[in-house]
């Protein structure tokens, strides 16, 4: 078996295009997941009894095979990108909801009390004090969700929406390993780069946590 560099050279455009589609399919669900997990996490912190059922529901979603979820959503959204992104969004919740809750729980009692006593109302306290302090833990969860989402998207090719998943399946059908290897390596690279970007974002957003890491 020989790796066909010429094929790579001839197909950079289509590989690049697939990579972009792949990223969009993988990361939009993480973004939507965050948008859902933030309010859900806040509510779970506010009313503790909500958290166990919310976490159970998120975990049940995660336990359903993606294929089964595709079959369910195909009835409503057809063979579109949504059919891939909705299950991925639901999957991300099982990581993101507990991370938002843990992040908010990482705000110490004295800090919360001080904020209240300084005259922060509940909403302002959440936005200015609690959520900023939760950022490092929320981003840690986002990294896990993003990386697993990037690897999961490929399955979407089963309904024609898989980004680089296309090249894996195509390579298999044509018994052409170069295409499979190229797509796989690209997926891994996308995951690593995304992770590195998130780490950078976290450092920029939370200089106070970065310095702490250096000192201790």
């Amino acid at each position: 078996m020989e790796f066909d560099w010429d094929w790579i050279a001839r197909n950079t455009d289509s590989l690049g295009e697939h990579a972009l589609v792949h990223l969009r399919l993988a990361l939009l669900p993480v973004l939507f997941g965050l948008l859902i997990a933030l309010p859900v996490g806040v509510l779970c912190r506010r009313w503790g009894w909500l958290y166990p059922p919310a976490l159970t529901i998120a975990n049940v979603f995660y336990a359903i095979p993606s294929l089964a979820l595709f079959m369910i959503f195909i009835q409503y959204t057809g063979l579109t990108a949504s059919t891939v992104m909705i299950p991925l969004t639901l999957y991300s919740l099982s990581v993101l909801v507990p991370n938002v809750v843990d992040g908010l729980a990482s705000v110490s009692d004295p800090v919360r009390q001080a904020a209240t006593a300084m005259g922060f109302g509940p909403l302002r306290r959440l936005l200015r004090v609690e959520l900023p302090i939760a950022v490092p833990i929320v981003i840690a969860g986002t990294r896990v969700a993003a990386v697993s989402s990037i690897s999961l998207v490929a399955v979407g090719q089963l309904i024609g929406q898989g980004g680089l998943g296309y090249d894996i399946i195509r390579g298999y059908q044509l018994s052409f390993p170069t295409q499979i290897i190229a797509a796989t390596v690209l997926i891994v690279l996308l995951a690593l780069v995304t992770d590195a970007i998130l780490v950078t974002v976290q450092r920029l957003l939370t200089p106070w946590a970065r310095v702490r890491g250096k000192v201790s």
Partner: protein, 376 residues
């Protein structure tokens, strides 16, 4: 003035945190809430800024019910310092201090200028302005906490065990600076502590709380030590309250003598018949040099040639208490305490008998300090 009128806090489970508490915290003074844990002192503190709402009774600030203000607005006008400082980890020191000014919509420049001014005031270096809280020691964090509470210059400060989490040396330092600051600022301060010594050191008035949220005594520290209201208070203050009371008797009330005091150039013969076996040697400026033992004097010459035992510590006749004088006497080789004036010159010597006389006299006095207290 902060006024508690029959304030009771009962929690749904039936626990009573405050039981019909009535007291005044006078304007410009430090009122200390002290007591056993579960005594309700922190709960009482928090009714002032509405972090706890009483089940019944009222809390008034200058005659106005605190419930007439929205909680967040009320709190922006009341400084608050807590045990572990509670600094915002994600904000720099200057922005932590400027928290309330920001909430009050001061512009950033003015708020930061105010923060820098306060850093200086509480003894923090300007170079710390851009650091984050975790980079500071516990004592420094607590100073930031105090600066943050003072930022918008609130007339009232609530302090909930602010110095409890730091080591004793730093604590004493923070307490002294806190008193110095209060001398300049004259805030109305309510200070919660479980440490009786801290209460006595800082309080103009002390309110003693007992388990179950009962207020058992409100008095000046002197009165509290001299006349505890009941066995609980007496036990809480501790068995050495007699000794502690000495802190409130001025050393100036002790009779001082010039007995057995000699200048360094006096001939040794004059020291031989010293009554107590010791002579205090002073220089030409009357600064004490040390104690010379009559038994160990050289055969001839001046007393300054004798080997002198160190004085230990002296006491300041104008500023120190009988407690400091007594301590000086106990530690002195001659058993006598050396009193000096502000310039360090000898004011006189007092032995333990002289100090007892001062103590007995103070005990017989109808406590002038308390009379003044009632007026304020």
């Amino acid at each position: 003035m902060i006024t508690f009128e029959g304030v009771t806090k009962r929690y749904p489970g039936g626990t009573v945190a405050l039981d019909d508490v009535s007291l005044d915290c006078p304007t410009g003074r430090i009122t200390v809430f002290v007591g056993t844990s579960g005594g309700g002192k922190t709960t009482a503190l928090r009714t002032i800024n509405r972090m706890v709402e009483p089940t019944s009774g009222r809390v008034l600030i200058d005659g106005q019910d605190v419930r007439e203000h929205k909680p967040a607005e009320l709190r922006r006008g009341i400084g608050y310092v807590i045990q572990h400082a509670g600094l915002f980890p994600h904000r720099t020191i200057e922005d932590n201090i400027a928290t309330v000014p920001y909430l009050l919509r001061w512009n950033k420049k003015k708020a930061r200028a105010r923060a820098h001014e306060l850093m200086e005031r509480v003894g923090l270096e300007r170079s710390m302005a851009r650091r984050y809280p975790f980079q500071l020691s516990g004592g420094q964090q607590q100073r930031v906490g105090v600066a943050r509470a003072l930022a918008a210059d609130p007339p009232i400060m609530l302090m909930d065990e602010p110095f409890s989490a730091v080591d004793p040396v730093v604590r004493a330092e923070l307490q002294d600076e806190f008193l110095r600051l209060q001398d300049e600022l004259h805030k109305t301060i309510v200070f919660v502590t479980h440490d009786v010594d801290e209460a006595i050191k800082l309080g103009d008035r002390i309110a003693v709380f007992q388990t179950g949220g009962k207020l058992v005594q409100v008095d000046s520290p002197e009165t509290l030590l001299a006349r505890p209201a009941d066995d609980f208070v007496a036990g809480f203050i501790g068995h050495d309250r007699g000794i502690r009371r000495l802190s409130f008797i001025p050393a100036s009330s002790a009779p001082l003598s010039e007995r057995d005091v000699l200048p360094a150039d006096a001939p040794v013969e004059r020291a031989r018949d010293a009554a107590g076996g010791w002579v205090l040697v002073v220089d030409a400026d009357r600064r004490p040099l040390g104690w010379a033992a009559a038994a160990g004097l050289p055969a001839s010459g001046v007393v300054g040639d004798a080997s002198l035992a160190p004085i230990g510590h002296t006491f300041d006749v104008a500023g120190d208490s009988v407690r400091a004088a007594l301590d000086a006497a106990i530690l002195s080789p001659s058993g006598r305490a050396v009193g000096v004036d502000a310039e360090g010159r000898l004011a006189g010597v007092a032995d333990q008998q002289d100090l007892s006389t001062a103590i007995a006299r103070a005990g017989a006095d109808p406590r002038p300090a308390e009379a003044a207290e009632d007026g304020g």
